[in-house]
Symmetry: D3
């Protein structure tokens, strides 16, 4: 939106020199979390990793995850005793459009000039000129969801306006945005077809904050988000799924989808009470009918996917 | 949504043995409100009743009520000094779609296992196996609106997900849902064309509560809801209309609709100030014009309805 | 406070004919919960009962409970999986003065005149003239805590002013008051030495409500309160302890008190880190010292109590 | 909506005798703010004025302002150190439809009958019969936005229902409504294509208030609104722009629009990082390209407008 | 607190030229409310007036009012249908110390520099140099309560710190302060024995506001406050009593006090149920006993007061 | 409070191996902030440091700071453009008792077992057995204030109960506690004479969280707190003063104190209007009187302090 003022507005951000670009000894970032740290703390990741160490949930699983809902994720994570992975209370930009992608995390803290001065100086030493929200946004990859801890700030807590939102959409291939803070230019943003979850909207640009970490563990509501988590957002809220549970979430969701299909089909017949069918058919004959239906539909699904992959 | 877990999740609900099924002496329900109680406390009901004693506002009046708005109900109930019949502050699933139906009330309270244990035992004695939200939902009739006191609970306070919401829609013929609590599977629910009013959404299934009454008097916000009340919901909130006032509400609404029609027609002419026309025309000639318009349109309405009924 | 207006102000309350006065078949109360119901639903009560069926936690245990804190109650109830027994968010009248007593429950609902009319008529038949908050208050016994579900109402939701608060203090021998609603005459009330927990204060007298139950199960915040529960209030909030757990709560609290005594004594010596002493001494010698201290102090306590009882 | 009751409902409003109708010496209004006062306190207005002294931002500028967003207004007003001109937290009737118009201000205060009695008597002396919200609404002009200080009131704080909303739409030619209070008949209002910003919705008609000023300075949220301010509302909130800044806001918005156009065009090419383009191109060659683009597009815009005006 | 900065901090306040000092034609104040206006709008005042037209409730009635509580005021004002005279939700500085005095009203609005510039210029013309909160505070009289509409502002909304609070205490002889805004220097303020009611506390000094009226009608919560109203504050909140009702409030409070005295005396005897005594004795003999007690105590009171006045 | 359960309750906390004990290369802590980092980011500290790198504001300045109020700190930090150093909205344990000390910071995040598992393993490697809130508390020094980021958590967010609060009091010599979270055992805590600021109180012990940092930069409300900041709390809230500003804050506070003394003395004489004296005397003679008073009192203060130090 506004053109000429951003240089000095953002000049108070911390200079940050990232380990992936300049090697592991740099510590210009207020909170350092090295590539090795990231690998150690996400050791259960069953997939490959990005060059910076982030777990890389494969593209085909991300594609499948677009059919997920919060409830299906809940079911697996609760079984695993991961009870702190869900955040809600957001304004949802496009209700009905599921958000799926890999978490790219960014943290801001309230500006404190003695601290930011030091960080800026360190960054300069490493050849980093202008360090701000754009510095982080420039690093986004296709399939990423930008997840930002802006500590709930509304005024001056606007991570993007419509121009940068447009850029994030381009860079992530429609991945998405979650910010515990605000956005600006909502009229412009609403015309862009990327999912977004934010606390509030404000006309002010970002300010009075300092960037304190990129791809470090952050907190969104009651969740500790790790870089590379699979982010799943629907009409209700956002789930952050640790990579080690992604496959199981998706496989179990297949069963749930078929179960729902069958349940609604039976309800539509109008012959049964809800308790006879849901959550599980009480009559052994119905139970068997369901099991067969489930088996057949799962097979169809698998064939469908195999066909798609071989293309 | 989730398939295999509901049995043990709901096993803590109170066993309830309903008077309509097993006669008036059963007291397995924590709060008993017998058929006779219901008849006594709704003695002013001018219509027939269901087998369980609930007043049965006739279908043709329910059909007519689909043209009502909160304001039209307000006007009659305020005249009758019934000032505690309106609740708002809900999330409205389908704004613009009016909800109309007969209140089917359900009450939950926080789980307390010594109490629920006794109730379960009593229910078993009467042959009731599994007692939970589905037990209540199985009793819904066409034209009912499910009205649930879940004491504002969000987490574990989800009266239905999309499967049961689908069933409620089937069973009530699109009647509707009001819950002082939450729902789950909002993405799925949003695709089903039944009105619903809820406080919040959460991915958890119902739990940590006990069912303490079916078709007893309950409280929703600032309203004491009686079983059989006519429930009217619009974009703003929900009115619970005692049966004895339904006819008058509808008849007065006819006048209001015609008045609005005429008022807007006059405003559209652009010749009058608002105070000359609204609430009542000041000029005697206009007043007369309005009265004639009113008379003629009422006659048309009555003929239309008579024609429809004779079909 | 106000003198002459209370008769007509309260005339809209439900007439109620209580089972203890007129036998078990009366049903003038909107929600009936007979003496037998109460006995059934509190079947685990190990103590005697009042004539109306309420469990009667003995006086000496009530006396001992005055040394309890919320944390000590929490510890036992959590072990028993009773997680819905605590309510907070109240204004506390006398912080630092522990409230202990037997729950005497009262429920109000929003006024609905067609319903209250029926209840009043039924009450009249049983010779009950004026039915209102005082009708319930007249039944209070020494050792009771008046627990009122006024559904959070502030304006017109004032269960007592200073005169009735004074009376409640007299009748319950300083038992206490918990209301999910408001009080009036706070200046006057503050001079009376009885514990009280309320949501707000308002100058209006009670009105626009109807009394719908006395000594029935009620909900206060997230708690299902049963008549006869031991009510324990401190600076933080209020616990409602089922009678079957009272003895264990008190016995375990003895240990906790002694543990705290010993822990602080050791901390005061200044020789240990907190982790060496709390929650349990790490060094075996310290552990033994603690065990001996515990044993000796428990013996002293028991002797003290025996001596007191034999007096 | 309701027909026959408005006369007595509104009879408690203050009689008001406006200076524009009866000359500058009248003081029936509780707060008087004469034509001269208005001229004095808006002395920087560069445009003509209405007969009542209100600044009249020209129609062609209002037309241009329909392309504005909150952010573009923010940018100029912040530069001018006007930091108290923005209000949000409203329910927005038609998100995506920009509201633009001249502020017509109205103030209400809580009813106090000794005060309203005096005002009514004064009004009668000046021949004003019925004084209420409609009295103010009758004065609306094409291009006005009705801005109402109803001190946040919900119940009885409904400035209009669908009939009067329809009238306001007619009278202002779709100008708009901002109320720090509520509306009623939302179902009816939602069908009318005029922008509106309100705090809440309620079925009650306006009452228990008195009209205390028309076209006086009022407060909406954190803004002192002057009559004649340019009101600009988008999805986020509402800006009240002093007339002296309107031209600059619009001119600078032209630059911002072109800048956004160019920025997104470059982002769409997929060759640049966000920091290379936004807020200002870093590469001198890109900078030059942008400057040329800007110059050319501005010229096109000016020609377009000149052509439109000469038609 | 802070010494050297107040001049420029407050320099943005509106210059105000008051009618009492410079005569009735001046209009430098944004909202003018002349001496004649004040007399007209408080025409029912039965007492003398200050030179500026404010009703002057006599000192002996103010003295008597120190025994009042909110409930006693409520009773009379409700009878008079004055339902909008009570405000609560304040932080109360000295709970237990009743505040009584005559309302001296001050209004602030959000700063808008084009408007404040004009007002300052007008003030200068009348020889008023520095116009700010101190300008208003300098006018306080013994027996006044300073009542300030700061529109709920916390940051920069601090009407006084401890120095000015000390001065207000001196000038009003301990009258009091009500502010719909904040104070600063709470530690210092807490040591000064004057009642105060405020919404919040903040370390910032007053700023970003403009003084828009002194002794004009203002709104505090749901109350329209008129200059000269009797302000009565207790632990709960603040009543603003129109002068015409002061005598009746005090006389009726005598009866209530005696009634409370007698009621508690009877309750203390332990022989009666609450419903037999309160609100009015049911037994004719008790009724008579009460009437005699009342008569005798009223006589004593009157003698006492007569004696005090003749001293 | 509770004795035997803390071991397993806390067993899910992160093992942490601190750089000061085991050297600078260890990285078992989720967020590492080495001694060198701390020195770099607090480079403006003019005082000595602790062994772990924390700035050490000298004891005599801490002693002097006990006379500070929020307003005096505000004045200097605002001049320095440090606008994000103040947090409020706490429950204040001992209003009227100023809290002063050096910030010892601790950070918790929501539990995530895959992450905590890794941290625990790393800690074990370095010989750290039990890692939890006590591990941090064991490191407290005299003069410290424990500042904890518990992200606002109430249930399970209780940093201490009365036993550990007692220990903190012993270890810090009455320093104090600030927690953006809760405490338990408030009855016990209230008897201990150490200042404390917390958001809420709950009977649950700490749980469902993991310790993620000790003496790292943390966020409390809108403040970035650095280890070693001077913490100043009064009745209103808490200031975190960077060490480089401590001397100036104290010196300026001397002037403010004397200014207040003189101002109140003049007000007490009753001869001046508030605007003649405050913020600065307007009359040159008064101005001179004040300057002489100031000079003399400053000299007295300095002598007093010199005498105290030479003792």
């Amino acid at each position: 939106m506004k053109t000429h003022r951003s240089l000095n507005l953002f000049s108070s951000f911390l200079g940050i020199y990232l380990m992936l670009a300049f090697g592991p000894t740099c510590s210009a970032q207020l909170f350092t979390f090295s590539k090795q740290d990231l690998i150690d703390y996400t050791a259960q990741n069953p997939f490959t990793r990005f060059a910076d160490g982030r777990p890389k949930v494969p593209d085909d699983l991300i594609e499948r995850a677009k059919g997920l809902s919060s409830e299906e994720v809940w079911s697996v994570l609760t079984d695993k005793k991961f009870n702190n992975q869900y955040a809600d209370g957001f304004q949802v930009l496009h209700p009905g459009k599921t958000m799926v992608g890999r978490a790219f995390t960014v943290q801001f803290m309230p500006l404190r000039s003695d601290v930011s001065h030091v960080a800026n100086a360190k960054a300069k030493e490493h050849g980093v000129a202008e360090l701000d929200n754009q510095y982080a946004i420039d690093m986004l990859q296709p399939g990423d969801v930008l997840v930002v801890d802006m500590f709930g700030k509304k005024v001056d807590g606007t991570i993007v306006g419509d121009n940068l939102f447009y850029y994030v959409n381009q860079a992530t291939h429609g991945g998405g945005l979650v910010v515990d803070g605000s956005v600006r230019d909502l009229d412009g943003i609403a015309e862009i077809d990327m999912p977004a979850y934010f606390r509030s909207v404000d006309p002010t640009p970002i300010g009075n904050v300092m960037l304190t970490g990129i791809n470090i563990p952050i907190r969104i509501g009651n969740v500790t988000v790790m870089p590379g988590d699979l982010v799943v957002g629907d009409r209700e809220g956002v789930y952050f799924v640790p990579p080690q549970f992604v496959q199981e979430v998706l496989d179990r969701a297949d069963v749930v989808h078929i179960h729902d299909e069958w349940t609604k089909k039976k309800f539509a017949e109008g012959k049964y009470k809800s308790s006879e069918i849901y959550g599980s058919p009480k009559d052994p004959k119905l139970q068997q009918e369901y099991q067969e239906y489930l088996k057949q539909r799962l097979e169809e699904l698998h064939k469908e996917r195999a066909a798609k992959q071989s293309n």
